[in-house]
Amino acid sequence: MIDIFMDKFLTIGLEHFLILSGTLFFIGLFAVLAKKNVIAVLMGIEIMFTSVNINLIAFNRYTAAEALLTGHVFAIFVIALAAAEVAVGLALIISIYRQRTSTDVQDFDWLKW
């Protein structure tokens, strides 16, 4: 019984990657919701995007037919777009930091939620 369990557990398969990516996704979501510093929030968003990349590449490796690399190409585009998103994010953070000398999300309260 233990043997079968260990065997299943130790042979790396699709499930392992999906569990990893699911965990990362929720760690990222937690960072977005719980962190006070807006830079840390951006990092959380990056973790969420990374989890998607793991998903895409694992699916491509284990389920895609023939030698199609759709998942890999998708992941490269996700990396590029996430970088663009962060560039704009940092620019906006600098602009708001100049006005309020703070990067704490709780200080961004000029507009009522």
Partner: protein, 475 residues
């Protein structure tokens, strides 16, 4: 296996126009750069006229990634109309920013994202187009150098990025379960899955949540009032019209083309989200004192009405969705153009400052009243015809309860729309100075008002195009 670029001409022309105006702008002296808006508007109108010849092609080109069907063309024209009207009415705004004409260019890039989004037939194309549009809007929302605008920008960026991560996770699950990213092929692969796949359901939920955020359905609406209030008003206008309409198109394409076999799973969910958006959007709009916040909540309610068109699962539903999207875009632009002109001159967005607008500028007061009555669905305006199409398409599918909620909420919306009208016509103005309307805004106001009045009594041409769009998506 080569790509015929003629199918992509409207997009290529839009991109070239943006680059061209960006370069030409450097030669124009700073104080005249706001006039580039007129050049840009003319160029966009030319593309709009040109795009009519793409009706009736109904093809998928460029390795199954790009659909040139009537549905996509209809929505592209809708975005072009929205962009022309927004660019025309924002000339005064750019003038006030010392001719900072990059504002126009980013607007056109957002438009380009929307146009590709309407045509996207592959999940990768779809995602890239969605991000092109979204990133442009993050920049635009934080464009003004005041505190509110920067805050609106950063709030929209954080929440928008989270929503696109969720959306992307959903896409990756759908890709993993079906092994393809082509939207039309997903339907076939889903049929092969004999048992119900939990991962696919999860992917569907995530996609729905990601797009629900962009069209601000309840419970993903929390960003809407803040961003609408804080962003520069021309940006709010484009965000409320183009970006939303683009996401309606994508939602319809994903749900009706890729996942019609799972309709038993998403239909009830979409119906509940629509009902909640109508109820909460319209009720929370009542106590608002800022007109931009009030219009934000009203647009949440409107989004609820529009997505009911998806529930019908037939051509009539998609036709109604396309038609009402156009009417919604026109009436929202009319209302925001008034708000834009008013706040540029008086510096206020508070409803109480609209007192006596009927005396200070009868034209603006009339346009605002007509656009609001159209949103509420009062005959003989275009909004009434749109709502009629929508409700007719779902009532035959057993959604009588949703129609009743929709009608009751329309009645309630008349209350807060008429409250603004009452302030404009009945209350005496504190400041008697007339409000002058600049040329660009005058064109926008006149055209939208005319369209709302004409399409209300003579909807034939538009409903014919909408019908072509509907039958292209769901034959």
């Amino acid at each position: 296996m080569d790509i015929n670029l003629t199918y992509l001409m409207p997009e290529i022309a839009t991109a070239l126009l943006a680059v061209l105006v960006l370069l030409v702008g450097l030669l124009v002296p700073k104080e005249k750069r706001h006039a580039l808006g007129y050049v840009l508007a003319l160029g966009l109108i030319a593309i709009l006229v040109f795009s009519f010849q793409y009706y009736g092609l109904n093809k998928t080109v460029a390795f199954n990634t790009f659909a040139v069907d009537d549905f996509a063309v209809f929505f592209k024209q809708l975005f072009l109309i929205a962009a022309v009207l927004v660019v025309l009415s924002s000339t005064m705004y750019v003038k006030k920013m010392n001719g900072n004409y990059e504002f126009y260019i980013i607007t056109v890039v957002a438009l380009l994202g929307m146009m590709v989004l309407a045509s996207a037939a592959d999940m990768l194309t779809l995602y890239i187009a969605l991000e092109t549009m979204a990133i442009s809007f993050y920049i635009l929302a934080g464009y003004k150098t005041d505190q509110k605008s920067a805050e609106a920008g950063i709030k929209y960026l954080i929440l928008g990025a989270v929503s696109s991560a969720v959306f992307l996770y959903g896409l990756s699950l759908v890709y993993g379960m079906t092994g393809t990213t082509v939207i039309a092929e997903i339907a076939g692969k889903v049929q092969d899955l004999s048992a119900l796949s939990p991962a696919l359901i999860l992917g569907l939920l995530f996609i729905l949540a990601g797009l629900g955020f962009k069209i601000s359905l309840i419970p993903f609406q929390m960003w809407t009032p803040d961003v609408y209030e804080g962003a520069p008003t021309p940006v709010t206008t484009f965000l409320a019209t183009g970006s939303k309409a683009a996401c309606f198109a994508v939602l319809a394409r994903i749900l009706l083309v890729a996942l019609p076999d799972y309709s038993t799973h998403w239909q009830f969910l979409v119906a509940v989200l629509a009902a909640l958006s109508m109820i909460i959007g319209n009720l929370v709009a009542i106590p608002q004192t800022n007109i931009k916040r009030m219009l934000a909540y009203s647009s949440i309610g409107q989004a609820g009405y529009i997505i009911t068109g998806i529930l019908a699962l037939n051509t009539a539903g998609v036709t109604a969705l396309s038609f009402y999207s156009l009417v919604y875009v026109l009436s929202t632009i009319a209302a925001f153009a008034v708000v834009m002109t008013f706040s540029a001159q008086t510096g206020s967005d508070e409803i109480k400052d609209y007192a006596g607008l009927a005396q200070r500028s009868p034209f603006m007061a009339a346009v605002l009243t007509i656009s609001m009555l159209s949103m509420a669905g009062i005959p003989p305006l275009a909004g009434f015809v749109g709502k009629l199409y929508l409700f007719k398409s779902i009532v035959t599918q057993g959604y009588l309860w949703l129609v009743i909620i929709g009608l009751v909420m329309s009645m309630i919306s008349v209350y807060y729309y008429l409250r603004v009208t009452k302030v404009m016509y009945m209350v005496k103005p504190l400041d008697k100075e007339p409000v002058t309307v600049p040329l660009g805004a005058k064109c926008t106001l006149f055209l939208t008002m005319l369209a709302l009045l004409v399409f209300g009594v003579y909807a034939q041409p538009i409903s014919m195009l909408a019908n072509m769009a509907g039958s292209a998506l769901l034959p």
